[in-house]
Subunit: 328 residues, 2 copies
């Protein structure tokens, strides 16, 4: 979602034609919608096929439908509330009381329309690729016991034999060598620290680094025992030092964690800026490295025996395996 556009075949620009026609109609005096030649509403004839995704938090919605006989994707996003329009917004609004308790009260506020626009993006004609790109997949929370891991998850991972060639390329300096921020080359406790692709490195506000371990046989949290404490502590300590040195960001401003399930089964640790609410830092998927170390100290087999919870997308093959096993 970082880029609303993607790769696609260029079709005829039917939408331009519509807009041009709307303008011409208005100039000919038969538009009839308003004085503004651009107020012709081509979306009034939009027929919704389905909502591809939406975000209550971000006030966005991605809709697939038809504009005339063309496939289209319409993206609506409410606009930020502007400080400079605040006084006008409050003065010109209608207010409806909803609830009152002690010093708190809530209202529904109906602002003047011109201060409350919705940013609208239309992709038309849209290909199937666009539709898929904007489609959200629902996730379900899965409960994985230590036994489930052995009987369901591990066989699935092994069968998939996901390639981590790109990880090996990094460790061997065959790729991205110039991006490395820090390296401890030790084969047992060593790791490579480099920026995640999501971070443009332009400001520390959204700092995101990944530490990839040199050991190649640790798939995930589930493989960790107290034998790996030296490795984990080394990453924690040296990773934080490297971030302080390179980005002048103190350890107390960092969120250092592992994912379970991870995106790829070669052990890696995420370093992100505290306060940067990056996807994947939620309690349902992230495990603080400090907690992992603490848990392994108190129980060397903690992650072998523990029930772990994580979300899986509806189209994830592993979810089907849990369903087949009657675990969902």
């Amino acid at each position: 979602m970082a880029d609303k556009r993607g790769t696609d075949n260029v079709g005829t620009d039917e939408l331009s034609q519509r807009v041009k026609k709307a303008k011409a109609d208005n100039e000919n005096g038969d538009g009839g919608v308003g004085k503004d030649p651009e107020s012709e509403n081509i979306l009034s004839e939009f027929k919704t096929t389905s909502v591809l995704s939406d975000s209550s938090r971000e006030k966005t919605i991605f809709v697939h439908g038809k504009l005339g006989d063309q496939e289209a994707v319409v993206i609506l996003e409410k606009t930020p509330i502007r400080e400079d329009a605040l006084a006008e917004l409050l003065t010109g609004a209608k207010l409806k009381l909803e609830m009152r308790n002690d010093i708190y009260s809530t209202y529904r506020l109906l602002p003047p329309p011109q201060l409350n626009e919705i940013k609208t993006t239309v992709v038309c004609p849209a290909t199937e690729k666009h539709v898929k790109k904007y489609q959200r997949q629902e996730s379900s929370l899965v409960e994985e016991t230590g036994e489930d891991y052995k009987s369901i998850t591990l066989p699935y991972i092994q069968k998939q034999s996901f390639s981590v060639q790109w990880v090996h390329n990094i460790l061997e300096k065959k790729a991205e060598a110039e991006r490395i921020v820090y390296e401890d080359p030790d084969p047992e406790v060593g790791f490579v620290l480099l920026p995640d692709f999501k971070w443009d490195q332009k400001q520390v506000d959204d700092l995101y680094l990944i530490a990839i371990v040199h050991q190649r046989d640790i798939r995930s949290l589930r493989d960790l025992t107290s034998e790996h404490l030296a490795l984990l502590q080394n990453i924690f300590q040296k990773g934080k030092e490297a971030v302080l040195q390179r980005y002048s960001l103190a350890a107390s401003k960092l969120r250092v964690y592992l994912h379970y399930q991870p995106s790829y089964y070669h052990l890696h640790v995420h370093f992100t800026k505290l306060g940067y609410e990056v996807p994947g830092c939620g309690v349902e998927r992230a495990h603080l490295l400090a907690d992992v170390i603490q848990n392994l100290r108190s129980d060397p087999q903690y992650y072998k025996t523990r029930t772990l919870y994580f979300p899986l997308r509806a189209d994830d093959g592993l979810l089907s395996k849990f369903k087949e096993a009657g675990r969902l």
Copy 2:
């Protein structure tokens, strides 16, 4: 920020008086704003002192100012775009073309006001604590051992003697009784389940409910022992059932968790929709209820002895206490 409310001293409910007065004025026919007795706009006389924080991503703004001679905090948040209102939204809107490139075009859309409300929360009279609470602040991650809790955190909480009068109002049905979604009245294992202020209850995508326990002496996670397992399991089980019954949302679509530190020191549990990336669901503050139960089963004193990590804002008095103790 996971809960817009927090701990504060109860003042006179001046806002109620205002609202009552507004109603009376309207009933006397001198309101003059509209036919709806609740459309009197008490915010038209709001004088902004400063913007405490805002989010372009979330379309929110937190404003400090004055309502008459009272300090007030006004929180505005645009509402999610509702699928069921989409057709009406698109048909009834005015559209202004901004940009066109190939198959992409962008517009500013002016929807009918009644489909484009702004959720408004007023805190009045607001104390300095409220103002601070809503002010954007950098956070630091704090490491709290069991000893730190006893020697630093607990004395601090006790000294502050935060008021949870509004919580008691809810438990005693003196306020928000009509908002209760489910209640188990048992004094030991019972709780009240009701929507969080942040949720407008119009769609389940951003479902957010709070379960508040009837027991009044459990401050937080730190007070929990295996003695509370029956209570926690009861909340988990009956809370999930109530959500399924009322909102047709399966348990596997829920993220059920506690905060540490919480916003207020009366035990409560958050129920949010999985996939809804609400502030406060991050691994640095949230603790899955399922994990809490699992931990207390394996070690009855787990949360008494465990080192816990959490972020504290720069202006948090507790952070100063940790600094004074040389723990940061």
